[in-house]
């Protein structure tokens, strides 16, 4: 029988039990910590900073686009705004968002380990990340970059007069932080699992994070070397990508998207990981089709490497290459759809409870589905030629990255907040802001689908007057979305200090991370757990979880 006696509720200890937050205090105990939970929090602070920074640029752009001819900035400044928005959001928020914060925090606990395989490397990766971030901010302070986050050549290597190299160096540095994190996670999942925790007993979160880590270690080095080549061409003016010097700009696009398309899956697989935890918990049912969901994560990671050419349908790719990439892009929709169907089937006939994390998770499924479906439009050659470089593309990937990843990130933060902080957040306010985020998001980005379909190009500081109504709607949505992001920041900080104490397992769910105290002690478990049950086995843990 699968009884669980990992952590007996203690009879009121005389002194409060030491946890990872109280075990050591002072600034130095944080700056030199090797505890995966503390490093996770260091990342939370850093990426929250970058998120609001990048979001601020987005808001400025939306304000500028209130009027057809624009009214706040010159065109060059506008170029720099969307570039810095993209660079900061992609490399300093989205890529590290879930893996480095929530992943860092819960992954070792979920597999019953005391820490990641290489704790010092983990801390090093945070320092490298901050160094990369500071370098990029330095490029911004010096005057910014105007190439777009995609650094297309030859503009980036020969013509742009902005701080391309500084920003590229910042991204390159941050890339090494990604590589170290991915390496750490893979080694941890292979070698640090608790006794009895076989691969098919792992929570889906682990499978998806593992798939993400594979992409991190395989794709990021290619980005590093591509950025290095840009730097070399720019500094020495020797031909690599610039056609005037004998290079091939399309090769740059191939190499850039060989990283940057898988990078989309670096962003969304961890989001799927979070949602795959939240939905079973608030449906009180094991995830439907465990193996299908687990393998679909791996399939996405593998197929994700074979579709980069769909970013270049109009860049002079051969018709055969374009057709192949189009076909493969359709293929990658299959594992994504399997996930959506399985999440839905998990909720079907479950006792669904609409707590805040579940609201975010359902929002994720809805928005990810729209983002994914419009991705299929873009994978179709004919439609893609029509909407290439329009707001349709912008709307599509924001549905995946903001509607998908940011929703799941917020859902995950709420879901694990009791474990992280040991405090409960105000439920009503949280539900209200989840709703605000969902509405604000759709109001911001749905009009952009229409704008793009009607032909409004991306990255322009002005537009024809007939597009104004939709642009105003989008800007209005962005302001609502902004409020939806600021409110959780405020009440979560409030809850950290004044919130109600959280029980060890507030959601009465099955994962190992809920079988330690909230907040957990330094080494997570009093004793190494021995796992004899499958993931999400509510039936086996019925008595322990008091599920009637």
């Amino acid at each position: 029988m699968a009884t669980v006696t990992l952590f007996e509720p203690q009879s009121a200890p005389a002194q409060p039990r030491l946890n990872y937050l109280t075990e050591k205090t002072g600034l130095m105990s944080w700056l030199f910590t090797t505890d995966h939970k503390r490093i996770g929090l260091l990342y939370v602070f850093s990426i929250t900073f970058f998120f609001f920074f990048g979001g601020f640029f987005a808001l400025l752009m939306r304000l500028h686009l209130l009027l057809p001819q624009g009214w706040l900035f010159g065109h060059e400044t506008y170029n720099k705004l969307f570039t810095m928005h993209g660079i900061i959001m992609v490399w300093f928020f989205l890529i590290p968002s879930i893996p480095n914060t929530l992943g860092n925090f819960v992954l070792p606990m979920m597999i019953g380990a005391k820490d990641l395989a290489f704790p010092k490397l983990n801390l090093l990766s945070w320092y490298i990340f901050m160094l990369g971030g500071m370098t990029t901010l330095y490029a911004l302070v010096r005057g910014g970059v105007d190439t777009g986050w995609t650094f297309y050549t030859p503009f980036s290597t020969s013509y742009s007069t902005s701080f391309v190299i500084t920003a590229a160096v910042g991204i390159l540095i941050a890339g090494f932080s990604s590589i170290l994190t991915g390496l750490n996670f893979i080694a941890t999942v292979h070698r640090m699992r608790a006794p009895g925790l076989t691969w098919f007993r792992l929570p889906i979160f682990i499978w998806s994070t593992y798939a993400t880590s594979l992409i991190l270690v395989l794709a990021t080095p290619v980005l590093a070397i591509t950025l290095a080549m840009i730097g070399i061409e720019r500094i020495f003016q020797v031909g690599i990508f610039d056609p005037a010097l004998g290079g091939d700009p399309v090769l740059f696009q191939h190499m850039f998207w060989f990283y940057s398309h898988p990078a989309v899956y670096i962003m969304v697989l961890p989001a799927m990981a979070v949602v795959s935890e939240i939905i079973p918990t608030f449906s009180r049912k094991p995830i439907f089709g465990y193996k299908a969901v687990a393998f679909s994560s791996m399939a996405i990671a593998i197929l994700g490497f074979l579709v980069w050419g769909h970013h270049m349908f109009v860049a002079g790719e051969s018709a055969y290459a374009a057709m192949t990439f189009s076909f493969l892009s359709y293929m990658v929709a299959i594992p994504s759809a399997i996930k959506v169907f399985n999440w839905t089937a998990t909720m079907y006939r479950g006792s669904v409870q609409l707590d805040t994390p579940m609201l975010y998770a359902i929002g994720f499924v809805a928005l990810f589905t729209i983002g994914g479906m419009t991705g299929l439009f873009l994978a179709a050659l004919g439609i893609d030629v029509h909407v290439t470089d329009t707001y349709f593309v912008i709307a599509h990937f924001h549905y995946i990255m903001v509607g998908g990843t940011v929703m799941a990130f917020l859902g995950g933060v709420h879901y694990w907040w009791p474990k992280i902080s040991g405090k409960m957040y105000p439920e009503f306010l949280a539900k209200l802001s989840a709703l605000t985020v969902f509405l604000g998001f759709n109001l911001t980005f749905f009009p952009q689908f229409i704008l793009g379909y009607m032909g409004m190009p991306r990255r322009y500081a002005a537009y024809p007057p007939e597009f104004q109504v939709l642009n105003v709607l989008s800007t209005a949505g962005a302001s609502i979305l902004g409020v939806g992001y600021v409110v959780p920041l405020i009440y979560l900080m409030w809850a950290w200090k004044y919130g109600e104490s959280a029980p060890d397992n507030p959601w009465r769910t099955t994962g190992l991370e809920w079988k330690t105290p909230s907040p957990p002690p330094k080494h997570n478990f009093e004793e190494t757990p021995v796992v004899t049950w499958k993931a999400y086995d509510f039936e086996a843990q019925k008595e322990e979880l008091h599920l009637g």
């Binding site: 390496l183 270690v217 591509t226 070399i232």
Partner: protein, 217 residues
């Protein structure tokens, strides 16, 4: 004296065995990332070689073939010494371990010496793209591109060699301190993996840069 294994066991692991296996997995993953890093350059090089075969052959004919060939032999010798060092570590023979580490370091320095001599000769022949490059052939732009990749790739390789020398130096230092034994010598094994990887990269670099134009001398 305290048990060296207990001292070397980090708090996140349950056993020395788990620690050894995990470190090895970590090193292999790191080497895979290295393959991808060099892989990007190999891909770009191959693309341009396919488009400009004549110019790339001409660039290759400007290589110091014999220096490259000798350097290949030098690195294979260093790999042999590294393998002997790891073998000695496994047997717990610290004297032999130190001897072979020193030998590997010295042979690595010989490689770097020859490499930088070559660089100097290219500079002397005005084949240093972006700084001083002189070529009169109609394909000059693509000959220069050959040299761009040559310097990028062998430069990145030489950088890895220099890091490797540092790692081997650290291993030697720890050997002399008596940190390693028959039961605990994982760092030496991992340094060996890294060293062999860097040597293997060179074999490919030799094949793509030196051999194609060797017959044109």
């Amino acid at each position: 004296m305290a048990d060296p294994i207990a001292l070397a066991l980090r708090e996140q692991f349950h056993s020395a065995e788990q620690q050894r296996e995990t470190s090895t997995v970590g090193m292999w993953i790191f080497l895979i990332t290295e393959v991808m890093l060099f892989g990007g350059l190999f891909t770009a090089f191959s693309v341009y070689r396919m488009s400009h075969p004549a110019a790339f052959d001409q660039g290759s004919a400007d290589m110091e073939f014999w220096m490259g060939a000798v350097n290949t032999a030098v690195l294979i010798c260093s790999s042999f010494c590294m393998a002997m060092a790891v073998h000695s570590a496994e047997k717990g023979k610290n004297g032999r371990l130190a001897f072979f580490l020193i030998l590997t370091i010295l042979i690595g320095l010989v490689f770097l010496g020859i490499k930088f001599t070559e660089y100097y000769l290219h500079y002397h022949d005005q084949k240093l793209p972006g700084i001083v490059f002189h070529d009169t052939s109609p394909d000059a732009a693509y000959v220069q591109m050959f040299f761009v990749f040559y310097f990028l790739m062998t430069g990145l390789h030489a950088f890895h060699m220099i890091i490797g020398e540092g790692i081997l130096g650290a291993m030697l230092f720890r050997t002399l301190l008596g940190s390693f034994s028959e039961r605990y010598h994982t760092p030496v094994e991992l340094a060996g993996l890294y060293w062999h990887f860097v040597d293997t990269v060179w074999v490919f670099l030799f094949a793509i840069f030196y051999i194609p134009g060797a017959h044109m001398k």
